[in-house]
Symmetry: C2
Subunit: 355 residues, 2 copies
């Protein structure tokens, strides 16, 4: 495979940004990975090329009919300078599930992993060293056929771009205030809510803006049908600690199957903490919180790993969670997961892959 990936060299390397002001997804490295698809020919011409603009016909189908899927994962720098990836196989599998749902051709998982590894190896100087920083990896596929017929595109481009990032939110374990949205909805069963496709994010912006205007950081979505059951947060899955047990919405078909979510469930169970994946109504949550039975709420996602929730607003009713303090379980999960990701902790689950 190594030899199959063509390489075009950059003439000049960019200057690296100041690691203290990276933000999220603003800076990109010198190289990217690109591969093309054409009907009849399949995926071809895998190459590592200079990071440069994409040129597409104005009629390219991604602009009109939205076939676009993506993934997000991170490369971390260990204390001994090794570069570590967290469960990249899971992101690649999910990318393929998204492709299939969106009528897009799937990719050879080994080729994607090899591409990812070669690209990061070439760009390893871009993996920042500061606490909380990492190299964000964005694989994505877009439909490129220059034709306005509403049907699956006959050509696609797969790309991987790399961006050195600070933590997604301003600091690491900063609690978030969540607004329970009951007017707008994100996805519904039978739709594309469990695919990581661009339209889901565009569809979420209006509610996100409304929550921000009301002073909240993120939206907690309810199910589209009864507007009763908890789904997920902007780009995180959600967990509740109720009477010492952990509860999270089941993968019903309308939420994303988070890789952090799956890892958190495995960790909790390995600690003998009972985890239930089930349908949970926002009313149950409200009542349990009023009774004082909810000790923690937290979100899980690649961007911030664990985000404790310190306030929930449902219909104007404000719930303060754990007196605004970060909970014990969220804290321990965050510590353990980041330690595994940074190679500090024994990796009992074999989640970490060295580049």
């Amino acid at each position: 495979m190594n030899k199959l990936i063509e390489r075009v060299k950059v003439t000049e390397r960019k200057e690296k940004p100041d690691p203290s002001s990276l933000g999220f997804g603003q800076y990109f490295t010198d190289y990217m990975f690109v591969m093309d698809y054409e009907e009849g020919k399949g995926w071809h011409r895998p190459r590592i090329a200079p990071y440069e603009p994409v040129t597409l016909a104005p009629s390219a189908s991604v602009f009109h009919y939205g076939q676009a899927v993506f993934e997000g994962l991170k490369a971390y720098r260990a204390a001994d300078d090794r570069i570590l990836l967290f469960r990249p196989d899971q992101n690649i599998k999910r990318l393929n599930r998204s492709c299939r749902r969106m009528s897009m051709p799937s990719l050879d998982e080994d080729v994607v992993l090899e591409a990812l590894t070669q690209l990061i190896d070439l760009e390893k100087e871009w993996v920042p060293r500061e606490r909380g920083t990492s190299l964000y990896i964005r694989p994505f596929v877009i439909a490129t056929e220059p034709c306005l017929g509403v049907r699956p595109s006959k050509s696609y481009t797969f790309m991987i771009v790399l961006s050195p990032v600070g933590s997604y939110y301003s600091s690491q374990l900063e609690p978030a205030k969540i607004y329970v949205e009951d007017e707008y909805v994100r996805a519904v069963n039978g739709g594309v809510g469990n695919a990581k496709t661009s339209g889901n994010y565009a569809a979420s912006l209006q509610a996100q803006q409304k929550a921000n205007e009301l002073g909240y950081d993120q939206v907690l979505w309810l199910d589209a049908i009864e507007k009763k059951y908890v789904e997920e947060v902007g780009s995180m899955n959600i967990f509740f600690v109720i009477n010492g047990e952990v509860v999270t919405p089941a993968l019903s078909g309308s939420i994303l199957s988070g890789i952090t979510r799956a890892s958190v469930i495995d960790l909790l169970r390995s600690w003998n903490i009972h985890v239930r994946e089930e349908r949970i109504s926002i009313e149950e949550i409200y009542d349990a919180s009023v009774r004082g039975d909810i000790t923690e709420i937290f979100g899980t996602g690649t961007a911030a790993v664990i985000t404790p929730v310190d306030e929930l607003n449902w219909h104007g009713k404000k719930l303060s969670i754990n007196d605004g303090q970060i909970g014990r379980i969220a804290e321990k999960l965050h510590q353990t997961l980041t330690d595994i990701q940074l190679g500090k902790e024994q990796d009992a689950f074999h989640w970490v892959v060295e580049v």
Copy 2:
């Protein structure tokens, strides 16, 4: 305004395609209209430029978070060679409604109409003369900010491209076979189903493919909540003629507010035919059809104007409509609308705008 639109000349004009094999959305004219938006600066630099590729950063937000809206309308050539547009103001208003729903900046409606008019005037030789052909007009807006944060983009590009087209389907009033989809859904109330945004089309492809494999032309969507009420067809609204009355799904929030739909309702009412816009269950349709009360079903949309439906498949139950014959009302609507569009019929509603 005329002087405000900058023009860059092409060096060479393309050869026009054979009008008998235009297909849909495959050929594009020599020029396009482009205008940019930046936060703080607003929409600026309206220009008519050579039709050429778009260059975007790999991190441009349209590729990742799907902020993209579009419109579709047609320019027709009248027998006396005038170029006519059908209700362009309605498309421009809908474009702005789509923009607002997708957290995108809206456009000055007069500027868009002026841009459209100037561009078509410049390209009038591209409006084909053959029966059933027209110049398809595709205005669209895409998010261009090179940043991976999930939030509304701070920059956008608005473009208008033109494509000479045959009729969307192989012939003009060709009946379609429709598959009633009850597994996949297109949109739900509180979502973005009433916006003409790219993600809605990507979300529909899987069901469309399934219908095609089963030998059907298009999908009839049911509501996402009860999977019981009729919504719309792929890119058409749907009408039923039941006991001499015409019934069409009300604009519930999850379907597109079609301009052909609105025009059909106005025409029918002007003919003293009773039209009801309401919630209609597929079961009612089935029962009415079995009783012999349904004399016609037809779709309405810019692409084919009126498409009679000659077969409906619901749960494997096949309904043959009007013995597979094109209905009287569909026929008359098609004739009247195309005559108005081509300037042959008196335009009582003032729908037609000359370029």
